[in-house]
């Protein structure tokens, strides 16, 4: 019978103590591992999502808020930027591509985002590549078409202003009239179409050729459905593990055409509440000097800011890192307490096991075999606890990842990585180290004394 078999048999002899000490180790390891896994995986996933563009152009204000809102669909839009910012950007040297975004509507809690077809043709997700379709394909709506339609929108706004003046502020009739003109125009061009993310498809049941009506507001069930903007699903995206999975993309023209998205007499043109503006623009720049130049150009504007999403997410995780560090310290303390528990549990059996060790010694076991036996028992409990903890952590991360994906769209993998395996080895080594205390007592067992005492 080899040492591992002896170790396992000895652990089986004390099922309750073995189970309790294993569970206590697993709790500490699970907590430590889950905190680390969540942090690492979310940081990685957040960085991946942030890497879809180099710059994010949006309204002045908090850079982090802009990043979270535009890329992760967290919180409300801070405001709009004037449409010409987008037109200027496209003419700026060093801009490879740009995708405008207009937000404000949702469908069953999923954000509806007005974009151009550059999103499908040019945007690349790190480690994934260009967007691919599980079903159907993208819609066709170019930047030039958006420019033309936007000109129509502005023209309608001017007509509205004239109507308002002529009809002594009988705004409601004129409002509806112009909205419907735009809606008709969008319908004629076939722009009431949508491409949905994989999560939207799985959670809402929408599929190719399904129709839906976006609702005003960004919160689930928060607004009236726009029945005039019934849109047809023409494409379902493959899962990217980013917030794109939780978005519904429509042509930006459709968004402008939806009732209530046009100017009223309260509208403030050119400012953050400009109804003809854009919520944000994703920009990919050429590397190096051009990147800085584009950024600097936007920075000089009074009506917009350019932020680097990757940097903003890095800053966010620096803040989160402090909390995470504290949590990991607590978890490490739990692990140490648990290992002390293993030490005490095994040490307490030493008195009763002196005869067992004496018998083994009489059968030819060396002192160091006895030392190894007890140390290995402690290490085995730590290893089992560690593995169990990793499983618990995996389950925890899986549950938490659903919540995180619910909020941010970021998909986190619960699978252990190399760091987890290194941690498991460290825990096992620490367990073996803890086992050395009782093992030292076992090592000193004088076989002859314990055997003869019963004679």
């Amino acid at each position: 019978m080899r040492l591992p078999a002896l170790v396992l048999r000895n652990l089986k002899r004390r099922p309750l103590a073995t189970a309790l000490t294993t569970i206590s180790v697993s709790l500490g390891v699970g907590l430590f591992s889950a905190v680390g896994a969540l942090r690492d995986a979310s940081e990685q996933a957040f960085h991946r999502s942030a890497g879809v563009c180099d710059l994010l152009v949006g309204a002045k204000g908090s850079a982090l808020e802009l990043t979270l809102n535009a890329l992760y669909h967290v919180g409300a839009s801070a405001g709009n930027i004037p449409y010409p910012v987008y037109q200027d950007l496209r003419q700026t040297k060093g801009v490879k591509w740009s995708v405008p975004m207009v937000v404000g509507d949702s469908y069953r809690g999923f954000r509806v985002i007005g974009v151009t077809d550059d999103l499908f043709q040019k945007l690349e997700v790190p480690d994934f590549g260009k967007l691919r379709f599980a079903e159907g394909g993208g819609f066709s709506f170019s930047a030039a078409q958006l420019d033309d339609f936007h000109a129509e929108v502005v023209e309608h706004a001017a007509a509205l202003a004239e109507d308002e003046h002529d009809h002594d502020h009988e705004a409601d009739d004129g409002h509806d009239h112009h909205d419907h003109d735009l809606a008709d125009l969008a319908a004629e061009n076939g722009w009431f179409v949508a491409v949905i993310g994989s999560k939207v498809a799985s959670e809402t049941g929408l599929k190719l050729n399904s129709t839906f009506e976006p609702a005003h507001n960004l919160v689930e069930g928060g607004g009236d459905a726009h029945d005039e903007a019934e849109s047809k699903v023409v494409g379902v995206l493959e899962s990217t593990g980013t917030p794109l999975d939780r978005a519904i993309f429509i042509p930006a023209a459709a968004f402008y055409a939806i009732e209530g998205h046009q100017a009223t007499e309260q509208s403030s043109f050119g400012g953050a509440l400009d109804p003809h503006g854009l919520s944000a623009i994703m920009v990919r720049t050429q590397a190096g000097y051009y990147h800085l130049q584009v950024r600097s150009k936007i920075k000089n504007r009074l009506d917009a800011q350019a932020v680097e999403p990757v940097q903003e997410i890095r800053k966010l995780f620096q803040i989160v890192g402090n909390i995470d560090g504290a949590l990991r310290m607590i978890a490490l303390m739990v692990v140490i307490v648990a290992l002390t528990g293993v030490l005490v549990a095994i040490y307490n059996t030493m008195g009763a096991r002196q005869k067992e060790f004496a018998v083994l010694r009489a059968l030819g076991a060396k002192r160091r075999t006895i030392l190894g036996l007890v140390t290995a028992e402690s290490a085995a409990i730590s290893l089992f606890g560690g593995v169990l903890g990793m499983v618990v952590a995996g389950v925890g991360v899986t549950l938490a990842s659903d919540q995180i994906q619910e909020i941010t769209g970021v998909a986190i993998s619960p699978l252990p990585d190399l760091q987890d395996l290194q941690f498991l080895l460290a825990i096992t080594a620490m367990g073996a180290l803890a086992g050395l205390v009782p093992a030292a007592r076992a090592y000193r067992t004088e076989a002859a004394r314990h055997l003869s005492s019963s004679l």
Binding site: M1, R2, R361, A362, L363, G364, A365, A447, L451, S452
Partner: protein
């Protein structure tokens, strides 16, 4: 051949030295079956422990098959015990969490040989415990436990089998059965058998009786 010359052993406790054994001369030929008799505290168990290398003599020579146990390192003594000695204890000391066959297997586990499981099974079958291979000690009668302990002492074909009051915990009939088995098996395997007992009737069954007090 076992040879002891001018062996002295004493124990120290709290600074007090208590002599327990003096053996000026003792020789036991190979395959001889010897009963060590003597009153309690006469040093029978100490003599067995000296022969197994579990304890070292303070002085003198303890030689088993040309191996001098008094000059051996502890690790070498362990190796010697694992390869060359079978040990049977009075209360058998079977390990609770291990089945009968595993307890027997343990007897050969530290000799570095492979395949002791099969030998353990064969030994137990020969001792009429074929039906009890996978029973735990608590599930065996005292007589069956004694057989398991005997099998554990015989596994690996040791040169020397030591037994300390092997029948002390058994009733008359079972004691006789175990004693017969011990003598028969040691004869079959050609091992040297040294048994400590206070029972002169048991001692009478052996090739030779050594009164420990008379050695001194």
């Amino acid at each position: 051949m076992i040879r002891l010359q001018n062996v002295h052993k004493s124990y120290r406790k709290n600074g007090l030295v208590t002599p327990v054994l003096d053996v000026p001369e003792l020789e036991i030929p190979v395959a001889q079956r010897v009963a060590l008799v003597g009153r309690s505290g006469s040093g029978k168990t100490t003599l067995l422990n000296l022969l197994s290398g579990l304890v070292k003599a303070d002085s003198g020579l303890v030689q088993v098959d040309d191996e001098d146990l008094t000059t051996m390192s502890e690790a070498a003594c362990d190796r010697f015990r694992a390869r060359s000695v079978g040990y049977m204890f009075q209360s058998f000391h079977l390990l609770d969490g291990f089945t009968a066959v595993e307890n027997v297997e343990l007897g050969a586990s530290f000799a570095g040989r492979s395949g002791p499981r099969k030998e353990a099974e064969q030994l137990l079958v020969a001792l009429e415990l074929g039906e009890r291979l996978h029973h735990f000690p608590g599930e065996l009668s005292i007589g069956q436990q004694a057989r398991v302990a005997l099998a554990r002492a015989l596994i690996g074909s040791p040169k020397l089998v030591l037994a300390d009051e092997p029948t002390g915990a058994l009733d008359g009939e079972t004691a006789n059965t175990i004693l017969d088995l011990l003598l028969k098996k040691s004869l079959e395997q050609g091992v040297t058998l040294v048994v400590a007992t206070h029972d002169l009737e048991v001692a009478a069954a052996f090739d030779r009786i050594v009164r420990v007090e008379d050695l001194q």
